[in-house]
Assembly symmetry: D2
Homo-oligomer: 482 residues x 4
């Protein structure tokens, strides 16, 4: 049923995922399950847990949402006091069970379980090199590359082998590893992806976002630092920082704008608070004379609240989201494509009729969805429609894990001026927050410590010419699952 | 797999459901599917569609959400230009496939499909009478009772038989029927439940709520009136009003408060607008000195917006809802029960810390969930917690379709004063909207035209002493599905 | 998944099924499950069990094989000391979950569970009559007709109501009923279908065939007699014979020829022994000069053994059956249809090459399969192919439960002489056992006590002109499940 | 659902499987599906197909029977003119989806698909060596070892790399490989396992047994020879014999005795014919005075036919097999264990009563099943029970693929004399065919060219002391799937 698809098998460029680990808790796998549940927004494609009870490893992973992949019976069989878990984001609609994580392998260092979030930029180069040394690959995950590097390491213990391996890789990553003795968590030196540490009773917990700690009522200890490798074993927690510090960090600003949950604390501050600030800043940069502010649920809500507070314009529910969407939905291929928008959202005419409306959204990617929405708002009677976006225009692909469409598809590259985009969307005014405005809203680090490559093309870890070769390469390696 | 449960089989007292019908559209069943999707909040237990292509009837129904019950293959097999559909609310956690609707039977009047929303108060009396005349029952639905009454009618055509049948029943109902010639929609004389009429091209559409018309971009024509029976066939639409008008209507006020979607128009006005008025009225009746208004998502949001507008206190996202919940979730039976609350909701500390907080919610039923929520808010740093509820205290059971707990479980019956409830919930102030205040917010009809029985015990259609007999009877008729 | 099909809903003429019941055993439903397993050959379409634990009824039924429909969890939930079960044969490929049995209903006599094997010949007449009295039908099973008749009975107890009901019906039937007090088993006065009684410890068991008693190691007590109604309750077993004895019984001879399992005892003797006699008789009637006897597995095996013993010609494995068939198999619609034959059977060339071969089979229906098989045998090198059939040619439809094709499709009606059939099949000689020869092989009753209508058109219970009306009627009542 | 179990993950010693491949046919995967269907008896645990359409590879594999793993939709997605397929035998009840074959990997030589039948005796030694060189293992299949050896090869093309790899391995194997250009089939120099070549139109076909060629009506060309590597590509078929010839072949005699289908031709002759000879030889070695020969269906049937022909004692159906078994069956854990035997087989008393019975079977492994069967036969009235077995007593484990129990469990090791076994089984006489008698029945090769290690302990490819280390090693590497 869920084990086949028409998606490319050896093809993967970027993926954002969710990680969770528990060390030393009698319900390790149950807590991991709850943690993954809270991180579901980071990956709806597949879910998996590997646990260890001091003698044996137990594994279960499947395509699908956390709630569908696990049941009580399965959780009971995932015995042990240690567990790591993973939810995978669907890039390209890929649904490969092979690529579901965590992976579990046996090599010279023993049995190792691993899970990964992020994207290595020298993955294909490393694959080729490893292949030329005789390595065989069964997945296209970055995790498998790390495992090969570990397996080729001359070090006998997992920590040293991992550090040696990490010295070879470039890009954005958080890794969780588990062997018979320990759980290891690693975050790349640039700190692209969030990762934090918590405690519940005598157990240590690691999570991509703090909202998962809240759910299991674990205490938030701190974030794992960029470039930090944390080993948790029977001796407690040990922190290592084996890598040279980069000149600046490169924390993904889009995690604050869109990806993370508003109730999480990442990169030193609460996401919702940052988003409120973005809304307030938008009022500063693009004030508007309007009757009502309508957030695009759910990602635009925090920002719209900030916008309302700063502008004094009341917020109202002009757009309603159907929360049952997210489940598999039969695409009305044979009928009107527009249905899809109406299925996710509906409008409330009484809120919009004869009103000057401000829509606040987190981003415009292709622009087609926004265009349709504006059309709907006008049909519902909106006198004026003003659009405010809480970040600059997206012009560049992300090579560190966020799955944007190709450069050509991005609306900001299809039109040469803001006014053309405005006309395309048919809005009375359009305001994108400036790069500086956006960066002024994150206050925990200096502006240089965030990655804004998708806006300005300044890639902190260079992808170089390899990029083109990658894409050609990818097209030549095709396997499909059925 | 999904066809068994441990729930009582012959046991049903009340259920609220969703109805949808299409007459004369080449994609009748696909539109019905989309309509049911929009009405999913009215029933998550089962979903079903029966279509008719002029020669044959086609049927599919199963336990589960609309998106899980149907797929493209099934929809393609549901051929024809007419279709009726049904989603069923889970009362008592009952999950009987037998009770899934629509029903399809053969009797002297020919093949008839039927679906029902509401609750007859003389159902068991009618069942007994029919049984004593030799009727056999395979479900516990009110639909089957109506079918028996139709089958026993002396009239040859469906409309006359239905009218004769409806003259025997008492209670709250909307019925959809389909035979080889027509679709018939009927709403009870008191108008307990909403039902509306739309048009898309040459097709007529009937729906429990108007939000489903929006989704398929059908034109909203009008609501079906209390006591109206509408026949749609090749001659177009015919309206009949065969019943004496009651002195007052009894439109369910709780549909406005909680049950219907905010983007629907029911009982003559938009639900969200009514809820905003409730919020404004709450400020009038229970003003408060506070820093921030926190809606309980999603049902409290509209009301909170009204409260914010009237009070000038800003609204903020103090409580975040996990929208993946709704899917089956493994209950942490073995661990802490409180997890369940944290799974659905999380708090944002930065919004709450050192703040005087107003929580706005639609109702308090048992009070245990609210109590836990207040405790969480205080733990998150709220300096004061004020609670405002957009209706009076619930003190009486509903016999017309809403599934409240028993009288003894209702918090308003467990405590003798408002202050006791306030203390139980541990809030600094508590305000329930008054009955009059609530009724002043619905403006399309006079206050007497709404049913407020769950607040004041004034049952517009008497249930009488039968009630006790019912419950005893129910306990003696037990069948379980496995 | 398994709840839809494109098959007619209100359409059913004949079906042969399997029945099993247990009264007063702590593992009633588990034993019933095993019993149904042994009766699987009598019905592969659906399986169901209803149990009763003195307080509640428990029910589970689904489309599919017994082993797929039940699992340990479900069997554990089917609590109680009494249970009845049913497997349904797929007629017309119909796969309606509605028609799955046992049925469970509530009527004036209380809750009643029922299962049925056979076919009533006045079913539609009774349906019409009942419909004209206001009955509604949700299935097309004969069981539902009986339930309506019971429900309309003036008697208060189930036994009297059932007897009154059975006096109205004509045709072939075995019924199992269960209410809160008892299990009742009834066999029609002509004894068309087998039904027997067993005991395991303190429990009584009823089964369509004795092979199911063997499986659970129950003692075989006796067959239930034609026209006998057996009531099993806390007072033990009571036998009633409320119907006038017909002049002759009409036990289905085809149960011996083909339908029942060779290890069963039915109609007073072992099926395998009868089949061996048929083989011996064939040698008498159609001796042959051949090298090897090849049974068509598995139904021709017993007969071939008899043929071998009587003729002295050795039996050998010329045709091998693939025993994994029976499971759903993907029909090679797009490729060669003949695959299907090869999938079920393969030949062993070394056994056939240059040999004079006798194939022994139980019957030829359409002839197309036999024709292909002969072609294969010749391709495998058989020098001569002789065919021997253990019954006369099938010329007439069965109205009592066996699902033959239409009269026009029967090979014996398509050709005017035996020699034409022989030429069509391309065999060197062809011998059908004579009616008298066949009847000489059943020794427990006199020849007149068997129904041979499918061979000679002498229908013991007349179907009359109604037959044509039935078929017309059926065509006008169409409902399809999706 | 089917992706977890409690079985060891890194633990595998022996497995017998089925292989099938098609090159250059428009319905390559459909034919492969049919071929696997015919080979289902060689592996019921999992089934898989990988196809290639000149551009992309397509893969589908799952736990379960062939008919359950594939459907029309999946087969349509398995596009291309080349395909290889695999069915896996369940050893130790292991049900790991990871170990399901074929495998598909990417290495320096490109994408390679592989499937394997047999067992390497130096697998663990090679694994350790490869691990020490940095290899990581994700399965415990011998296929993965071969892939690592290929990946480490210095040769650029698959054939040379494979030959280099095969020179490293010892044991019993047939391999199928597919890359972008070719399909390669290899059989080990000793010829342990059968593998044959066929043609259908312009396509070449490779199969473990010839019965699968019959099913798709492919022409049987010849067996692939021991030590032969066959490459099929656009230039046609090329045969290579790169290995030194062993002094004697070691074709598995147990394939003839039990494992292969009677309608297959393996090792130069038809299996059924060999089994008839075994039966005749048994009469020579152990004549008996009896009334009836009862084969144990289905494996004993061919032998019993030979026994009957030679002895003149008629064969009869004393034991009936329930052909629905094979599907998952709920083990009556809570009730009597003996049920299992009755579920698979039933007896026909009329055949056995007061008779001197000879049971003919292919082997006795533990003896417990045979013992129960004899007890049943006596209860059914058999006056005498004689047992004849078509091979010598099993005393030694097989290290080449057949999954026997441990040495201690084998009945022939638990008792010191034939008479003790006879007493344990409670038979009147017991005859095992002698080693020489058995070998006299295979006529295509000289007796020395068969492996009889399980009878005499003469292992043609030594396993040495490694064996013990293996088992210890295995116990220390435990991973469980949930």
């Amino acid at each position: 049923m869920n084990s086949y698809s028409l998606q490319p098998h050896f093809c993967k460029l970027r993926e954002n995922c969710g990680l969770f680990a528990v060390y030393n808790h009698p319900q390790a796998s149950y807590l991991t399950y709850l943690g993954l549940y809270a991180l579901q927004h980071r990956g709806e494609e597949s879910a998996g847990i590997i646990s260890y009870n001091g003698k044996e490893f137990f594994i279960h992973k499947e395509l699908g949402h956390v709630a569908d992949v696990f049941n009580e019976d399965i959780l009971n069989k995932l015995k042990g006091e240690s567990a790591i878990g993973h939810v995978r984001y669907s890039t390209y609609g890929s649904t490969n069970i092979e690529n579901a994580q965590p992976l579990l392998v046996k090599c010279a260092q023993g049995a190792i379980a691993i899970a990964h979030n992020g994207n290595l930029v020298n993955a294909l180069q490393l694959r080729k090199e490893l292949e030329s040394q005789g390595a065989i690959f069964q997945t296209t995950t970055d995790s498998e590359i790390i495992l090969h590097l570990i397996a080729h390491s001359s070090h006998g213990n997992l920590l040293d082998s991992l550090i040696e391996a990490l010295k070879r890789v470039k890009g954005a990553y958080c890794f969780l590893l588990m062997d018979e003795n320990s759980i290891i968590a690693a975050r790349d030196p640039y700190g692209f992806k969030p990762l934090c540490l918590g405690r519940i009773k005598d157990a240590f917990v690691v999570s991509s976002e703090s909202c998962a700690l809240d759910l299991i009522e674990a205490e938030f200890l701190r974030e794992i630092e960029p470039g930090e490798v944390v080993v948790i074993n029977e001796n407690g927690l040990k922190s290592v920082k084996p890598f040279p510090k980069p000149f600046h960090l490169a924390q993904c600003i889009f995690e604050h704008i869109y990806f993370s949950r508003p109730d999480s604390v990442i990169f030193g501050e609460n996401v919702h608070v940052v988003r409120e600030r973005l809304g307030k800043k938008l009022v500063e940069e693009y004030p508007v004379n309007a009757d009502v502010i309508v957030p695009v649920p759910d990602s635009g809500t925090s920002c719209a609240i900030g916008f309302s507070k700063a502008s004094g314009i009341p917020i109202d529910l002009g757009i309603i989201r159907n929360h049952y969407v997210g489940r598999t939905f039969i695409q009305p291929s044979q009928i009107i494509r527009d249905f899809n928008v109406r299925i996710k959202f509906n409008l409330i005419r009484d809120v919009l009729k004869n009103k000057k409306v401000v829509i606040v959204d987190d981003s415009i990617v292709r622009g087609t969805t926004s265009q349709k929405r504006v059309r709907e708002l006008r049909k519902a009677g909106a006198k004026e429609v003003h659009m405010r976006i809480s970040c600059p225009p997206h012009k560049f692909p992300c090579f560190y894990g966020i799955d944007f469409p190709t450069k050509e598809e991005l609306i900001a590259n299809r039109f040469s001026s803001l006014d053309e985009i405005r006309k395309f969307l048919d809005v009375d005014s359009l305001g994108y927050l400036s790069r500086e405005g956006m960066l002024s809203c994150v206050k925990a680090f200096s502006p240089e410590d965030y990655c804004t490559a998708c806006f300005d093309g300044n890639y902190p870890v260079p992808f170089g010419e390899e990029k083109n070769k990658f894409e050609a390469e990818l097209n030549s390696r095709k396997v499909r699952r059925c």
